[in-house]
C-alpha cells in the first residue's frame, strides 16, 4: 500500500509492481487470485484450459478472473489495457469456449458445477459490461 497527497486530502492507493496505482476508493477490488484453488479441484483438461486462460495468479484485482476484471473496468471506469482496451472480447470468447467445448464434455459432478459457476459469472459480467 502507498499514500499520496492530492488536492488537500490524504489519499491512499495500492501500487502494482510497475506503478499502476489503484486509488483508495477502489481498494475493495484488491483480492487474491483463485486460480490455484480452482486448478486443484478441476479435473477435465478443457476445463483446466479455460481456468488457465481466465484466471491470472499474479493479478491483484479480485479473484484474478476475467469476469471480475471486466466488472472492475465497467464499475471503476479504469481499463486495464492501453488506450481504453477492455476485456470484453476475451470474455465473449471464453464464454464460447466454456459453452461449446467444456460443457459438451462428459464432466464429473464437481467439474460441471465449477464450469457452470464460472460461466454464469462470465455471462453476468458481460451483460453488465454491455449495459444490459
Amino acid at each position: 500500500m502507498g499514500g499520496g497527497f492530492h488536492g488537500g486530502f490524504i489519499t491512499n492507493f495500492y501500487v502494482g509492481k510497475n506503478g499502476n496505482a489503484l486509488p483508495g476508493e477502489h481498494k475493495k477490488w484488491i483480492g487474491v487470485s483463485k486460480r490455484d484453488s480452482l486448478l486443484k479441484k478441476a479435473q477435465n483438461s478443457k476445463l483446466r484450459n479455460a481456468i488457465n486462460q481466465m484466471y491470472r495468479e499474479g493479478s491483484f484485482i479480485g479473484d484474478g478472473g476475467t469476469a471480475t476484471i471486466l466488472k472492475f473496468e465497467k464499475r471503476t471506469g479504469i481499463n486495464v489495457g492501453r488506450n481504453g482496451n477492455s476485456h470484453i472480447q476475451k470474455a465473449l470468447e471464453m464464454e464460447r469456449y466454456l459453452k461449446n467445448r467444456v460443457l459438451r464434455e462428459n464432466l464429473s459432478k464437481s467439474d460441471m458445477k465449477m464450469a457452470n459457476k464460472v460461466l454464469r459469472k462470465l455471462r453476468l459480467a458481460i451483460l453488465e459490461a454491455k449495459g444490459e
Binding site: G16, K17, N18, R56, V80, R82, M94, N100
Partner: protein
C-alpha cells in the same frame, strides 16, 4: 491485418512448425470459430514459450508480428497482445527467464503494453 486472420497469419510465419500448431490445437480443443484469444492463449502462447527459450530467430519473427498487432490501430487485435499474450507471459512460473529473452526482441509499442499490463500484477 484482420482479426479473424491473426492465427493463420501467425502460423504462416512458421510453416515448418505447422504440425506442432495443429497438435497444440487438437490437444486444447481450440477452434478458430471460438476466437483469437482462444487460439493465441491455448496454441500460440505455449508455442511462444518454447521458442523464447530455444530459438532466438523465431522469437524475433514472432515479436515483429506481435508489434504489428499492437500497432494495428484495431483495439480487438491489441487486446489479444495485452490480455492474452503478455498477461500469460507475466503469469508464467518462469516469467523472469521468458521476459529476459523476449524483451530483446520486443518492439517499442509491445514494450509499452508490457509495462502497462505488468502494473496490474503483484
Amino acid at each position: 491485418m484482420k482479426y479473424e486472420d491473426l492465427y493463420d497469419d501467425f502460423v504462416n510465419l512458421f510453416p515448418e512448425d505447422k504440425q506442432l500448431f495443429d497438435d497444440l490445437s487438437v490437444e486444447s480443443a481450440a477452434h478458430q470459430e471460438d476466437g483469437m484469444h482462444i487460439m493465441f492463449g491455448m496454441v500460440v502462447v505455449p508455442y511462444l514459450k518454447r521458442i523464447i527459450i530455444n530459438d532466438s530467430e523465431k522469437t524475433r519473427v514472432a515479436f515483429d508480428y506481435i508489434e504489428k498487432m499492437e500497432k494495428s490501430g484495431d483495439s480487438k487485435i491489441a487486446e489479444v497482445v495485452e490480455f492474452t499474450i503478455l498477461e500469460s507471459i507475466l503469469d508464467s512460473e518462469n516469467k523472469n527467464e521468458l521476459l529476459r529473452e523476449c524483451e530483446k526482441y520486443m518492439g517499442e509499442e509491445t514494450r509499452l503494453a508490457l509495462n502497462n499490463i505488468s502494473g496490474w500484477f503483484k
